[in-house]
């Protein structure tokens, strides 16, 4: 598992990367009430805004962590945005991306580095 400074987690599953937000991020956001997902098949570039999540407090963007193609999105989240709070690290993944340059993953933190990052 890799982590970004934007509090996303990235899990490699075969030739795709699954993306979600960390428990820490979901706690900071508060109750999530709205999730907007990208469409499968979209080509994205690193740092492009691909999802919007809104909590009771505010809206936040989720950025594409790497270049690639969105191959699958977690459609049930749209109807059950609260899953982002209940199960952020497993069930509430947002999208799967097929990297065009897998070496971009090397830039990200491992679990220990992320723990240090959030203090």
């Amino acid at each position: 598992m890799k982590y970004t400074e934007e509090h996303e987690w990235l899990r490699v599953e075969g030739d795709v990367v699954v993306v979600g937000i960390t428990e820490h991020a979901s706690e900071q956001l508060g109750d999530v009430v709205f999730v907007e997902l990208p469409e499968a098949g979209t080509e994205v570039t690193k740092d492009e805004e691909v999802c919007v999540i809104e909590s009771v407090k505010a809206a936040s963007d989720i950025l594409a962590p790497i270049d690639g193609e969105i191959v699958e999105v977690n459609e049930p989240l749209v109807d059950e945005p609260g899953k982002v709070n209940d199960d952020p690290m497993e069930g509430a993944w947002f999208f799967k991306i097929k990297p065009s340059d897998p070496s971009q993953m090397d830039d990200y933190m491992d679990e220990n580095a992320y723990k240090e990052f959030i203090g």
Binding site: D31, V56, A59, V78, P81
Partner: protein, 374 residues
């Protein structure tokens, strides 16, 4: 920014695990560990306790209640003289342009007038009252009392354990009630759309009474986050968002709060700042109006969202002034100003969210029906 002030309940909030934020110069609980959504639902389902000690509590004294009321009527378009002893009423200070300087609650306490004003406006309000009304009226800010709200369908059951007399209070009654041996000023009112009470407590006794209430099965502490979503579902204005010094009470759909006796054909017509503008608005109508808004989709439409008559083209017809997610409504809720042509319940308009126009319906306020004890 100066150091944040603390209410008499600060230590209790911290002990309860509240997340504290700066609000109107005070360090206030925005949420407790329960979280905004569950706090909101708990308040509508049972009872919630809110610290609102940051608000201004002011006593206006003159030779009689009537004298204080008569003076106060020069600042507000409400019927103050005609308010019965032991009764409370909603009102607002107007300015010469007919805008709203602050909204407030006032009560007839028999020999004087008691006013509760918004935290962010209280300095200005007190200066305004002092400048306009003294020396005939003494304007005394009460700084040694906490103010809490107990709101929700179980508020009566909970507060009755401290004094059963509160059961007999009707909506907008105001009384001095002994709670746990302490003389408290209690009104049957609030800012959630639920039945409930607002309770002014001597600061030394506030924590003890709050602990007694919080120990009850029905009662949870509720932060400013849920206070906002509750009042939004309840269609209640937040000063600074939904009303301000540029909105007339008629535009703000607060005509109901200007009693007939103060209107153009009333016995005590006018005599408050901006009466000409407000009477003009009443007689000729207004170009924009505050309305409830129910977005069709799931995306919240927050304050500042521009509103349009059509899905494409055209200039904005208005703007959302408060918006978010309504936990009881189970969807996004908002309020804002639209042109009079669109200010008809059921009209479909569009709000621009992240560059996309999303449908939103003009809705009857409150979006969640009120549950007052009449």
């Amino acid at each position: 920014m100066g150091e944040l002030k603390r209410t008499p309940l600060y230590d209790l909030h911290v002990e309860l695990g509240a997340k504290m934020v700066g609000f109107a110069g005070y360090d206030m609980p925005v949420q407790y560990p329960l979280g905004v959504m569950k706090e909101h639902l708990h308040c509508r389902g049972a009872a919630g306790l809110f610290d609102v000690s940051h608000m201004g509590q002011v006593a206006l004294r003159a030779e009689s209640y009537e004298a204080a009321a008569k003076a106060f009527e020069t600042l507000v378009p409400q019927d103050v003289i005609g308010l019965g002893a032991g009764r409370q009423r909603y009102g607002f200070f107007t300015n010469d342009a007919g805008g709203i300087e602050d909204d407030l609650m006032f009560a007839n306490r028999g020999d004087h007038l008691f006013v509760v004003v918004n935290a962010a406006c209280k300095e200005g309000d007190i200066a305004r009252m002092t400048a306009a009304l003294s020396p005939e009226v003494t304007v005394e800010e009460i700084t040694d009392r906490a103010l809490v709200a107990l709101q929700g369908p179980a508020a009566e059951t909970a507060l009755a354990r401290l004094n059963p007399a509160v059961v007999d209070m009707a909506f907008m009654d105001f009384a001095e009630v002994e709670l746990d041996g302490v003389a408290c000023w209690v009104s049957r009112s609030g800012y959630t759309g639920e039945d409930g009470y607002e309770i002014s407590i001597p600061e030394a006794d506030a924590e003890g009474i709050c602990r007694k209430l919080l120990a009850m099965e029905e009662v949870e502490g509720i932060g400013l986050g849920a206070r906002d979503s509750l009042r939004l579902e309840g269609g209640l204005c937040l000063y600074g968002n939904d009303i301000d010094d540029s909105t007339s009470p008629i535009e703000a759909a607060l005509t109901w709060a200007i009693q007939k006796v103060r209107r153009a054909d009333g016995d005590r017509a006018g005599g408050f700042p901006g009466a000409d503008r407000i009477f003009g608005d009443l007689a000729e109508g207004v170009a924009r109006k505050r309305v409830g808004l129910a977005p069709t989709g799931r995306a919240p439409m927050r304050a500042g969202t521009q509103l349009f008559a059509a899905a494409e083209g055209g200039e904005p017809i208005g703007e959302v002034t408060s918006g978010g997610f309504g936990p009881t409504y189970e969807g996004p809720v908002a309020m804002g100003y639209v042109g009079t042509a669109q200010a008809v319940v059921g009209t479909e308009i569009f709000g621009e969210v992240r560059g996309k126009r999303m449908p939103v319906t003009v809705a009857k306020m409150p979006l969640v029906p009120a549950n007052f004890k009449r």
